[in-house]
C-alpha cells in the first residue's frame, strides 16, 4: 500500500461515476493496472491532460485495495500522429485491445512495456499492415504464446524445406501434408518465412522486408484464427481495422 511513481501507457478509458474515468494502464513498474482518475471529465481538472487515451505518461498512483488511484500525471508523449488519421487511430485501438486482452494484470514486464511503447511510435507509419502483423507476432512471442513453426505439431517431423504445409490454430503450429486436418488453414512457406522474419527483425528494419500481398493475406488469416483460439473470443477492433485498410486501397 502507498504511493508509487511509474511510467504508464493509457490503454483504455471508460466513464466511471459522474466525472471519473476508469483507466486500464500498462505501467513500467507494475504491469497492467486498473486505476481511477477522479474528476477528469470536468473541464477544470488538472489531471485531465495526463490521463488521455493513447498517451505515455509519468504517473503517481496510490495503491488501493481493488483499484489504484491516479494522484498526479504528466504527459510525456501524446502520439498526436494517431489522431490525424483514421487508420492510425483504429490501429492504436487495436493495439490497445490486443495488449489489454493478452496481458495479465499486475505482472511487471519491462520488455513488454517497451514493446507496447514502440508500438505506439510506429503504428502510424504507411506500411501499417506489416507493422501490425509484426506487433501481433512480437506480442505473442513476448508473452509465450508462440506456435511451433519448425516441426509438424501432429507427427513431430521437421518441416524444413517442405512446400506443402498447413497451420492448425487449435493445435498451435504447422502441419505437414500427411497430417492435414479438417480445420487446418492454408499456409505457405512464404507466409511462414514472413512470420519468422517479423518475429526477429527490429522495427527499424521492417521497411526493407519484401513481402507479397498474398503472403501477407495468408499470414493475416492464420494470425486472426490463432489469436481467436488463444483468446477464446474475437477482438472487436480487428475487423474494423481491416475494413478501413480495404477502403483505403479501393
Amino acid at each position: 500500500m502507498g504511493l508509487y511513481r511509474t511510467e504508464a501507457l493509457v490503454l483504455r478509458s471508460r466513464k466511471y461515476a459522474e466525472t471519473d474515468s476508469l483507466l486500464t494502464l500498462l505501467t513500467q513498474k507494475r504491469g497492467k493496472v486498473k486505476a481511477i482518475a477522479k474528476g477528469v471529465r470536468k473541464s477544470k481538472s488538472s489531471l485531465r491532460g495526463g490521463v488521455q487515451l493513447f498517451t505515455h505518461n509519468e504517473m503517481l498512483l496510490y495503491e488501493g485495495r481493488n483499484l489504484d488511484i491516479v494522484t498526479q500525471s504528466q504527459c510525456l508523449e501524446a502520439f498526436t500522429t494517431v489522431q490525424d488519421d483514421m487508420a492510425a487511430m483504429t490501429a492504436a485501438c487495436y493495439w490497445c485491445e490486443l495488449l489489454d486482452s493478452f496481458v495479465p494484470e499486475g505482472e511487471k514486464d519491462i520488455r513488454l512495456f517497451m514493446l507496447a511503447l514502440a508500438g505506439f511510435h510506429i503504428l502510424a507509419l504507411d506500411y501499417q499492415e506489416l507493422v501490425m502483423r509484426a506487433l501481433e507476432i512480437k506480442l505473442l512471442f513476448q508473452l509465450g504464446y508462440m506456435p511451433d513453426l519448425v516441426h509438424c505439431v501432429s507427427c513431430g517431423r521437421s518441416l524444413q524445406g517442405e512446400q506443402q504445409i498447413a497451420f492448425s490454430a487449435r493445435r498451435g503450429g504447422v502441419l505437414c501434408a500427411t497430417c492435414l486436418e479438417g480445420d487446418a488453414l492454408a499456409f505457405t512457406p512464404e507466409a511462414l518465412k514472413i512470420w519468422q522474419q517479423l518475429q526477429q527483425l527490429e522495427f527499424s528494419k521492417l521497411k526493407r522486408l519484401k513481402v507479397t500481398s498474398s503472403g501477407l493475406h495468408i499470414l493475416d488469416e492464420v494470425l486472426e484464427k490463432f489469436l481467436l483460439v488463444q483468446l477464446e473470443r474475437p477482438l472487436k477492433s480487428r475487423p474494423i481495422l481491416k475494413e478501413i485498410w480495404q477502403a483505403k486501397k479501393s
Binding site: 483504455r12 473541464s43 477544470k44 488538472s46 489531471l47 485531465r48 491532460g49 495526463g50 488521455q52 487515451l53 493513447f54 504527459c75 501524446a78 498526436t80 494517431v82 489522431q83 490525424d84 488519421d85 483514421m86 487511430m89 483504429t90 492504436a92 485501438c93 487495436y94 490497445c96 485491445e97 472487436k236 477492433s237 474494423i240 481495422l241 475494413e243
Partner: protein, 200 residues
C-alpha cells in the same frame, strides 16, 4: 421456511436492481422509499416512466430524441436553416443550446467511431446526415464531437466524407477552459489554443 418480502415488493426491488449503478441494497432502499411515498407521487413516478418510453422517439430528420415528429428544433423556422451542428449524443444538443450562441440546426450521430467497442462509421447516423446535406440548404457544418481521440477521429472521418460536397466545414475550437490553469493544461490542448488564438 425463511420469511421473504411480499411478491410485489420483491418484484419492485428486482426492477430497481436492473438500473445501472444500482446494487441489491440500494434497490431495496429505493423500494422502501417508494412504499413511504404518497399514492399521488408514486402514480406520477410510474406514469412518467411509462410516458417517456411511449412518447419519446428519434426524430427522423436530425436523429435527436423528441416527443413530436419532426422535433421542435427541426420544425423551428426561426433557426438558421443553413447551419448544421453535428454532435455525438442528445445530451450534447442541450449543452450547446444552453450557451445560446448557436442558432442553427443539429444532427445527432448517436455515438462515435469507437473500434474498441466494435463501433465503426456504419453504426452511426451518417447515412441520414448525407441525405440531409443533399436535400436541405445547408451551407456550413459545425463538427461538435467531443474533443477526445474518438470524437476527433469521428470529426476527421466526417470532414473527409463531406469535403467533396463543397460545404464550409468547421470544427469547434479547442483551448484552455474558462477558470482553468495554464500550468495544468496538457500539451495538446495548449498547442491548439495557441494555434487557434485570435485577435482582441
Amino acid at each position: 421456511m425463511m420469511y421473504q418480502y411480499a411478491e410485489s415488493l420483491t418484484r419492485l426491488i428486482e426492477q430497481f436492481a436492473r438500473l445501472p449503478g444500482i446494487g441489491p441494497k440500494t434497490a431495496q432502499r429505493l423500494a422502501f422509499y417508494v412504499l413511504k411515498m404518497e399514492q399521488q407521487q408514486v402514480e406520477a413516478f410510474a406514469g412518467a416512466l411509462v410516458d417517456v418510453k411511449k412518447k419519446i422517439t428519434t426524430c427522423p430528420v436530425c436523429c435527436n430524441l423528441t416527443d413530436v415528429t419532426p422535433c421542435r428544433i427541426c420544425q423551428d423556422e426561426q433557426r438558421a436553416q443553413t447551419q448544421l451542428c453535428i454532435v455525438e449524443d442528445a445530451q450534447d444538443v442541450i449543452a450547446i443550446e444552453k450557451t445560446r450562441e448557436y442558432k442553427g440546426l443539429y444532427h445527432v450521430l448517436q455515438g462515435r467511431i469507437s473500434p474498441m467497442d466494435g463501433k465503426g462509421p456504419e453504426d452511426l447516423k451518417i447515412k441520414e446526415l448525407l441525405v440531409r446535406l443533399q436535400q436541405e440548404q445547408i451551407k456550413e457544418v459545425v463538427l461538435a464531437t467531443n474533443p477526445n481521440i474518438e470524437g476527433e477521429t469521428t470529426a476527421l472521418y466526417l470532414s473527409k466524407l463531406m469535403k467533396p460536397l463543397g460545404l464550409k466545414i468547421t470544427r469547434i475550437a479547442h483551448g484552455v477552459p474558462v477558470g482553468g490553469d495554464l500550468e495544468y493544461a496538457d500539451t495538446a490542448t495548449l498547442s491548439r489554443a495557441i494555434s487557434g488564438r485570435r485577435e482582441i
